[in-house]
């Protein structure tokens, strides 16, 4: 099937309906492996047992940025190509992105207290991720404020693309400024600096989080398509009642 055929919401619903159970099963299996590896992982020589928090904090941080990246690509789809599923994809990704960002912030704070002696410091990395969380809330509020989904989608797309400026700021904040947050240790030139006994559970958990996002995103997109159908049908019903 050509990829363009997926632009048709009915075909998308049919295909995603077949894919969802497999994705959900794969998510559960990968998480089961990831959590068992995380439980059995050795303590870090500096962080002790708190290194286990990294197995959820780091994937949540990657997805916090990944969701905004998905929304930015979808925003281009909305503004440039007017792809029928583009703002459906963006709208479905926003609450998930907000949730992963909240997870990143909360788990980071719970790691920071024993390691830094503080739940929160206003350094470049933490502050830019907090800004990302506030931007997610802003986009969600915008969608709720504007009733017409296509108008809301265009306004949210502009806000999303402006907000994408924050992504490189988050990524490079640890290089540009003196931050308490440590620099990149996995996604860096020269390869990861983490011992394989800790890297493996981290990567498996990251795969689990990615599968979780794909599963929930597909399901949320299906819900959004159904919501728009309900809206259209209610408008047609009101139109018919007016004649």
């Amino acid at each position: 099937m050509p990829l363009i055929d997926l632009a048709n919401p009915t075909r998308f619903l049919a295909l995603s309906g077949r894919l969802l159970p497999w994705l959900a099963a794969a998510t559960l299996i990968v998480f089961a492996i990831g959590i068992s590896l995380a439980v059995g992982a050795p303590d870090d020589y500096q962080q002790g047992g708190t290194v286990k928090i990294m197995f959820i904090h780091v994937p949540a941080a990657w997805l916090a940025m990944g969701c905004w990246t998905v929304m930015s690509i979808a925003a281009l789809g909305t503004l440039v190509w007017r792809h029928p599923l583009a703002d459906v994809a963006a709208r479905a990704a926003a609450p998930l992105g907000a949730a992963f960002t909240a997870m990143c912030l909360i788990t980071g704070m719970l790691w920071g207290r024993p390691m830094w002696g503080a739940y929160w410091v206003w350094d470049g990395r933490l502050t830019s991720v907090l800004v990302l969380f506030l931007m997610y809330l802003g986009v969600l509020a915008l969608w709720r404020t504007v009733e017409d989904p296509s108008r809301a989608g265009r306004a949210a797309a502009v806000l999303t693309l402006v907000g994408a400026i924050n992504l490189p700021i988050i990524k490079f904040s640890v290089d540009w400024w003196h931050t308490l947050h440590q620099p990149a240790s996995v996604l860096r030139l020269g390869g990861p600096t983490i011992h394989p006994s800790l890297l493996m559970p981290l990567l498996i958990m990251a795969l689990g989080f990615l599968l979780l996002f794909l599963t929930l995103h597909l399901a949320a997109m299906r819900n959004e398509i159904m919501r728009r159908r309900v809206r259209t049908m209610l408008m047609l019903q009101a139109e018919a009642a007016g004649h």
Partner: protein, 60 residues
């Protein structure tokens, strides 16, 4: 019982918070799906159809 050392409360707190957020996301998707499916079924039961589903009208 696994020994998580002196920071057990922070580790368990982090995993608990993550589990709570994942549960909330799954619940949001499932509840929303049920709500939209029910609304669609109600409208269809009342005979409301989209233009694309009416015979002789262009697909949208």
């Amino acid at each position: 019982m696994m020994n998580l050392g002196p920071y057990a409360a922070f580790i368990l707190g982090a995993y608990g918070a993550a589990a709570l957020i994942v549960t909330a996301m799954v619940a949001w998707v499932v509840i929303d799906h049920r709500r939209q499916a029910r609304a669609l079924a109600d409208l269809e039961a009342r005979g409301v159809t989209r233009r694309s589903e009416r015979p002789g009208e262009a697909t949208r």
